[in-house]
Amino acid sequence: MNISPTEAEEALAAIQAMTQKTRHSIASSGAYIFLIITGIIWLVGFLSTQFLTGQIVGYIWSGTSILGTAVAILLGTRMGKRVRNPSVNASAKRAIIFWVLLVFYAIAAVAIARPSDGKQVTMFIILFTMVGQSAMGLLLSFSATWWALPITALALVGYFLLPGFFYLWMGVLGGGGMIALGLYIRYRW
């Protein structure tokens, strides 16, 4: 089979265009929204923890978390019908059991370590959540693994170097970073 350089150029351009269209379509059909939702929950939750006191902080965290989880489940169901991973579907029960066990181990670790303040409890939650995120990423979709590392690094920097502004740091850089990454995937990826 022989083709001219012009035909080869056109074929490569068609491949490039289709690759970009597919990436953009998958990203804009839901993947970026998970990051934005989590980012908004962190931004609102941590800023309220930094600047507010009393039960209202707990209500804000609970409200945003429940709303975010509901939206994420709805989007995940919609997304799963378009592009799916059969081995992931088969492993879904194991993934749920893994998260239940991880929560149990996190509670046990907190009970044993007896953190002295809210920042330490927050760090335990972030570290266990990011361990879970990394494990899910490695098992189910390698591209979802990497972003747990910079989030963990940000949390550690805030905890050790900026204890007075820890929640503000986590809200603006952790939450804001996730929102920015989600928007980048949506518009530039």
Partner: protein
């Protein structure tokens, strides 16, 4: 030097393979989603998918979800390899220009 693949070079099949190869190797895409992505008709897409399946470049998986039939399509390992070779062949033609 890699050779051009006649089965893949057809414009619609080239775009089908480009879309499928963009997915992660373990992922598969819904038929209707792929049809909308490529902007082709059901019949046209079905015919090209059969050709690619016969060549062993894609895998077609029919499943029931919520009591409705769904067809999922993915690129096989052989399909990914042949597609990469085809792209390399196209690039080598351009380099010789």
């Amino acid at each position: 030097m890699a050779n051009l693949n006649e089965t893949i070079h057809q414009p619609v099949r080239l775009r089908i393979m480009a879309a499928l190869v963009t997915l992660e190797p373990t992922n598969e895409v819904d038929f209707t989603y792929l049809r909308d992505l490529l902007e082709v008709t059901d019949g046209n897409l079905g015919a090209h998918l059969r050709k690619l399946e016969e060549a062993g470049y894609i895998s077609v998986n029919k499943v029931f979800m919520e009591r409705k039939p769904h067809t999922y399509v993915s690129a096989t390992a052989a399909g990914r390899k042949v597609f990469q070779e085809h792209v390399a062949a196209l690039e080598s033609i351009l380099k010789r220009k």
